[in-house]
């Protein structure tokens, strides 16, 4: 895969580049500021970009805004956001355009290199990868989406794991069920959420969106 890494801290950027290259992927460009990130994404159109939320010059959400702007220009550009903090608000903004190829993880996730690379590959393939912290917050109560109230407990947990970006196979392992059972659950929850397979939208992404949008 051709990857762009946008991170302002040299140590972390360098470490990530080495990690990615150790797994046999190619880092085509790095960026250290918001404008640089946008520029790099425009020029290189990578298979996936790793972007830090907080970057110079303003040291606020410069990176996040660069990623959103780049996705507005190049729809579906896969971006994995890595941040010191996971905010539901930011996750919702990223998913707002309804197309896939979005990941949002805590920076700690690079500690588990396999998990990190796996997430990168899933995002590059147009899927979603959400930090369990975001999903946990959504699951821990909150005014549940009226559409979600119709789901059974099992369907709920399947949707939660699906939102993290896991495949049916992994979900089946986690819940000690067969893969075909998971298939049945996903079909029934797509039906209950009113998500039809029209061949254009990523149904899993829409399910996550239904999850993130409370109203």
């Amino acid at each position: 895969m051709r990857i762009v890494v946008a991170e302002d801290l040299y140590l972390l950027r360098d470490g990530m580049v080495r990690l990615i290259e150790a797994y046999g992927h190619e880092v085509v460009a790095t960026a250290a500021t918001g404008p640089e990130t946008l520029q790099a994404l425009r020029t290189w159109r990578p298979d996936v970009a790793v972007v830090d939320v907080r970057m110079p010059p303003s040291h606020t959400d410069e990176g996040l805004r660069a990623a959103i702007a780049a996705r507005a220009e190049l729809p579906g550009l896969p971006v994995l956001i890595l941040s010191q903090y996971v905010e539901q608000l930011y996750a919702r903004e990223l998913l707002a355009d309804g197309s896939g190829g979005i990941g949002y993880f805590l920076k700690d996730s690079v500690f588990d290199a396999d998990q990190f690379i796996d997430a990168l590959e899933r995002v590059a393939a147009g899927g979603t990868a959400m930090d369990p912290a975001v999903i946990a917050k959504l699951l821990s109560g909150g005014p549940s989406n009226r559409r979600l109230e119709k789901l059974t407990e099992r369907e709920h947990s399947v949707l939660g794991l699906m939102a993290e970006g896991l495949s049916n196979q992994v979900i089946a392992q986690r819940l000690f069920l067969s893969e075909s059972a998971i298939g049945k659950y996903t079909t029934s929850l797509f039906g209950k959420l009113g998500i039809v397979d029209d061949g254009t939208n990523n149904r899993r992404v829409l399910a996550v969106l239904a999850y993130l949008n409370k109203d």
Binding site: T60, E87, L89, K107, F111, G142, P143
Partner: protein, 437 residues
């Protein structure tokens, strides 16, 4: 005909008001007169004839000055709408110390009752407002009181001279004159009370300034304490949490380095442990930073930070925001933590299901009573209202969370008002004055 009715109504109202002012204004001179009369009656030679009047005058004046002033403030506010702030000093809370004694801000007492009594008297004697009240009770009978006496005196003369016919022709003439005076003066006589009260009863600018300085001193002390406590908390969290974990991480790595050649399996396990330790200390540091300065707040400002709070809350929270620009960072931070605490209260205490948060720019002093009355006039303020559908009955208690919020907002001259009838709903309004540009 209608005009006649209006006139007579004005005269009637004016007369009754003048009587009220005259009554209030002559209470203390009446006490003095009674005391002197008593002394005269006992006659010279009786030692009580000079001691008793002095005691009666002193005690009577001191005891009555405050009720008289309160009555005047009440009457002025009711008739003219002019609010004359009382400006009495407020008593600091009485707290029980670890020794079992009660501290009232001045000294230790054995029982709560003693502490309260002691505090009451000390505040009374030290309060410049007491002196102001005494001065006013001396001035009142000579100014507004004297003028207000005209209509009732005139009426009395009329009754005596015309009604009862006392004093013959001269008496009748005096009665007629009295009646005319009473009728002519009634609509105006009571009005002198307002300028006199405003001039002499209102805290002077020097007093207001002195009070403000005192208020700020207390606020500064409060703030210093709050900050010191916060720094201690952060230091303790770092010391017990992340710091200890990093030491452990270093130890694991050192051991792993040593074992690398002899026992690679154990070395690998230790490395894994070290990684878990690094993740845990990151989580702790993250929570710590969130408690000091939430990242969304610094990234996006108050409105989005409150929206993020709404997303994280287990309640159904709606946020209405109408803020075109961001307030100063310290104000933003204070309001953010205030909203966070109020949402938390709605979950923990109110048992609410829905909460409405609104953030707007408004005018200062639009709320009911701005507390100390030392506001700097109308200006722009940021107004945050948090309304829940819970069971209500929230109170600002000493040492409680709401009192703490109020103290923190007071540093910015902000106010916290709470309307929370038993059975709900609860509405808390925070208002912090700040420049709108």
């Amino acid at each position: 005909m209608r005009q006649l009715r209006t006139w007579s109504a004005r005269i009637g109202v004016g007369f009754s008001r003048a009587c009220a002012v005259a009554a209030v204004g002559t209470v203390i001179p009446a006490v003095w007169a009674a005391a002197i009369a008593l002394g005269v009656r006992w006659g010279p030679g009786n030692p009580w004839s000079w001691l008793a009047p002095v005691v009666i005058v002193a005690v009577g004046t001191l005891a009555l000055s405050r009720p008289v002033c309160r009555a005047v403030r009440h009457l002025v506010a009711r008739w003219t709408g002019t609010v004359v702030p009382a400006g009495y000093r407020e008593a600091p809370p009485v707290t029980r110390m670890a020794t079992g004694h009660w501290w009232n801000g001045f000294g230790y007492e054995r029982t709560r009752r003693d502490a309260l009594m002691d505090q009451k008297w000390r505040i009374r004697w030290n309060d410049p407002a007491t002196l102001r009240d005494l001065r006013f009770t001396a001035i009142l009978p000579l100014t507004a009181g004297l003028v207000a006496c005209l209509p009732p005196t005139g009426a009395a003369a009329a009754v005596l001279g015309l009604g009862l016919g006392a004093g013959g022709t001269a008496g009748r003439l005096a009665g007629l004159l009295g009646l005319l005076t009473a009728v002519a003066v009634s609509p105006y006589a009571w009005r002198t009370i307002e300028p006199v009260a405003v001039r002499f009863l209102r805290p002077s600018s020097a007093m207001a300034l002195a009070e403000r300085v005192e208020e700020l001193t207390v606020q500064r002390a409060d703030m210093t304490n709050i900050q010191a406590a916060e720094i201690r908390r952060i230091e303790r969290d770092l010391h017990d949490g992340a710091q200890a974990r990093l030491v452990g991480l270093g130890l694991s790595l050192a051991t792993a380095e040593k074992l690398m050649e002899t026992d690679p399996e154990r070395a690998k396990a230790l490395m894994k442990e070290a990684r878990a330790g690094a993740t845990a200390s990151l989580t702790e540091l993250r929570e710590l930073v969130r408690g000091i300065n939430p990242p969304v707040l610094s990234d996006r400002g108050l409105v989005d930070a409150v929206r993020a709070l709404a997303l994280d809350s287990p309640l159904d929270v709606t946020v209405d925001a109408d803020l075109a620009h961001r307030p100063d960072a310290p104000v933003e931070s204070a309001l953010y933590f205030a909203v966070a605490e109020l949402l938390n209260n709605a979950v923990k205490h109110a048992g609410a299901t829905r909460v409405r948060v609104s953030l707007t720019w408004g005018e200062t002093g639009t709320g009911t009573g701005t507390g100390s009355g030392t506001g700097t006039g109308a200006g722009t303020a940021i107004v945050v209202a948090v309304e829940d559908d819970g069971r209500g009955g929230a109170l600002v208690r000493d040492g409680g969370g709401l009192a703490g919020l109020r103290r923190r907002l007071a540093v910015f001259d902000g106010t916290l008002e709470i309307i929370s009838p038993a059975g709900g709903p609860t509405r808390v309004t925070l208002e912090v004055p700040c420049a709108s540009s």
